[in-house]
Symmetry: C4
Subunit: 268 residues, 4 copies
């Protein structure tokens, strides 16, 4: 114990972030629902990724969120509303029964995320294992530059995104090819996040294969069968949105054909 | 002890930053006013956040600062002038009595921050619990692009900022809505920071609900009832100023109405 | 052991990333091919650099890769396909015999990188000791702005890149001079990375002195006699591609002569 | 000892960077000239700051460098040429006698930095205590946008830079005022860094009060009476060069008068 406290004193920059732990070791009791030594437990993964996403400028202020379905119990773990995402701890987590949709755990002092119905819709209607929601500026800018659908074509990175087609032999998702166009639908923002549910459900019908929806002037929702997949999809899409904004600034349409950029700029 | 020194040798990059601690364990005596095991103590929080803000490029050189009111004693903790913000330690802190405005503690070798009267004005006239001052380039650029007031509208992130209205039932601050416009007044810079006091007080009258003031060609002051709130407000406003600059570069007015961006750019 | 676990609990953000180690200490057996205390062992260096490159946005999603030839055994160590690069561990590594090109080690659950034939070609035909492949946005944007060859001239940083000429006295590679132009060939992307092999081999003939090839709308391959050199070349080239994009945005041709920029912009 | 190695295994990303320490504890002998427990010893500070500057993109590849005069012995500590700056260790350091200019220590396997004569000139003719040299892209771009002198005016951050005037009462350097213009001379680059010496000495005559010189298409040299001051000057100048490039992109001359920006852009 002495070693730990002594160690922390050496790194004043860490003290603030570890306040939760401090409390935990002093006062809190163990809760099997949220406390686990397994780093892949949803409560641990949500805390770790929220910290990482905060550093990426995807969860500025208290924006954004993550929800993960427990692979054994099927319970939904959901980051709360209004919490500073880089300081989140397992004790802050809401847990919802995957079948009854009743809360198994409600943390004191927090409100449920207004995104909760959207997360649940992705779990239920898209068979998602995890959903990531960010306020990425690349998503906001893309939603200003594109009308109904974000489009980018012929970039290697789109191969990280599933096409929606399934290989009949292996049963695995077939990714987009380099020669494909990635389409991500854009829906209009509403006053409250839970009001997005109708547009989201409509999008599921109109774009049954998409793994993401951009919300205009707001951010993006990305889902996948596991949190590992959802994370990879989100990173690849953010990379592509960032690239699309830069291409627009240079005068190159992000969905133009291979070598068609020469129509728009004087190539060197 | 052996463990600690041995450990530090493994991480040469940490040595420079922890010099304060080294001195502390050797020579300094314990001061209850500034030394605390509680990571939420103002002296600890100021050090931790200054480090974080330096990494965000908000406290380049020795710019910027933070002041926090102790929630129990009401004393004001103030980062000193001229110190490298990423290396600040509790021993560098000025402490002022919240009532008499007399210094309870003056660190040797430092001058008080020229921002001190501005911080005190926010504590007294805005009932602030904490004030953050940064030299954010997004604030400087926004002050060049806007005349008297920075304006941005219809972006989800503005919901992180209070509207100034209070919910009559709960007594809580009501945040801005997605359909609102965020207005932040811009005041002219002066030769010395303490000369900003008159403009600041005038702004309190003209914009009684604002939680921030941009200083042209200088930076921004952001306050809130607690340091947690002030931090969230500052992050959200910086995000919005960054977005506004990018929108200006793309030709889109940051305060244009929803879907009005199509008037200014050819949407895809 | 208690110390370690206790320590990890203090830093929830680290838990996720160290999952591999957790497994290792519990279940895995020691493999001399990939486990070494020497931090310069290829398996360790690949993991460390993939983490660093991920933080640089060069390996977003699961993109990019690194391959290193073991200096004693001549075996090729290759990062697998589809793995999150910031979480890679020695156990994920493919190892190929440098002579027979047969796999000495195939990790369960991973596929070999589609870049493998390209890496092998660089080892064999360029006498490379290491190859770095990134999806750097600076490379993708450069490939859109330039036609057949990326060119930048008269920038100090190009002195980090070898000219291809060898000093007859010392036998060492002579770097480019400040007054030289750096040329990096650009090849067209294909549906699958292994289909790039013909273009790559052709480039070896056409540009025998290049240490890098840009793949249009995809990324870049950079190689060197050692991983230290390849890393330095890759960093310097990425710096130069980033600078070239910024110069294009300002209207200055990246390969214009010294003081010729005044032809293109109004200098202050 | 067990603890340390066990700990390192948990963090594969750290292994590469700490290779020097590993060697040190096993094989190297203690050298009083470069080994010190004092984190402010020049050899320790140079290593710590090179790591920090690398992370800032100021020392990409093996570019840039730092030299510090030992405050007691007057010896010059100089980072070597060609080393990866983020991995530097005290054992890599050149040490030169401040009077005789003879090397007190020459590390095996490294060449002296080509900047050495420039560093020595700053120590001797500017009474510098430390010199920082970076390949900052903000410096390179500024050198393309400005002709003979980089100029920026009426920005709060310029108050971090000394005016060259001395307060007759306190003997302290008087900083620039908010209403001043910061001028930094730009010299032409040469094939070899040591050939910059004549231009540098001429600049000392023409701009006796400058604390920095930009080298066109190359980078910047910044000096100060101590390494703390030089670091603050370098950060403030880099901030101002970054801001100037952004102002140019928006069409605003960086040295325009207060409120004159309205002549160049339509303010909102």
């Amino acid at each position: 114990m002495y070693v730990k406290l002594d160690f922390l004193k050496n790194f004043p920059q860490f003290i603030y972030r570890t306040r939760s732990t401090y409390k935990y070791t002093k006062k809190m009791s163990y809760e099997p629902l949220i406390h686990s030594d397994d780093p892949k437990h949803p409560a641990n993964v949500i805390c770790a990724l929220c910290k990482q996403f905060y550093d990426n400028n995807w969860c500025t202020g208290t924006g954004g969120g993550i929800s993960i379905k427990h692979q054994t119990t099927g319970a939904y773990y959901i980051a709360p509303s209004g919490v500073q995402k880089e300081q989140m701890k397992p004790e802050d987590m809401f847990v919802m029964d995957g079948k009854s949709k009743e809360y198994l755990r409600i943390p004191k002092q927090f409100k449920p995320s207004a995104c909760t119905p959207l997360f649940v819709a992705c779990f239920q209607h898209r068979n998602a294992g995890a959903i990531i929601h960010t306020h990425s500026q690349n998503a906001v800018l893309s939603s200003l530059l594109f009308d109904k659908v974000f489009k980018i074509a012929n970039i290697e990175q789109i191969k990280a995104i599933p096409s929606g087609k399934v290989d009949p032999e292996t049963g695995k998702l077939i990714p987009l090819s380099f020669f494909d166009t990635l389409n991500i639908p854009i829906i209009e923002n509403k006053a409250h996040e839970d009001q997005l549910i109708d547009s989201l459900l409509q999008t599921f019908e109109d774009y049954p294969h998409t793994c993401a929806v951009i919300v205009r002037r707001h951010g993006i929702f990305v889902w996948g069968p596991t949190i590992e997949k959802a994370k990879v999809f989100n990173e690849a899409i953010d990379y592509l949105m960032e690239l699309a904004v830069k291409m627009c600034q240079l005068g190159i349409p992000p969905d133009c054909g291979i070598d068609e950029e020469a129509k728009f700029i004087a190539k060197r």
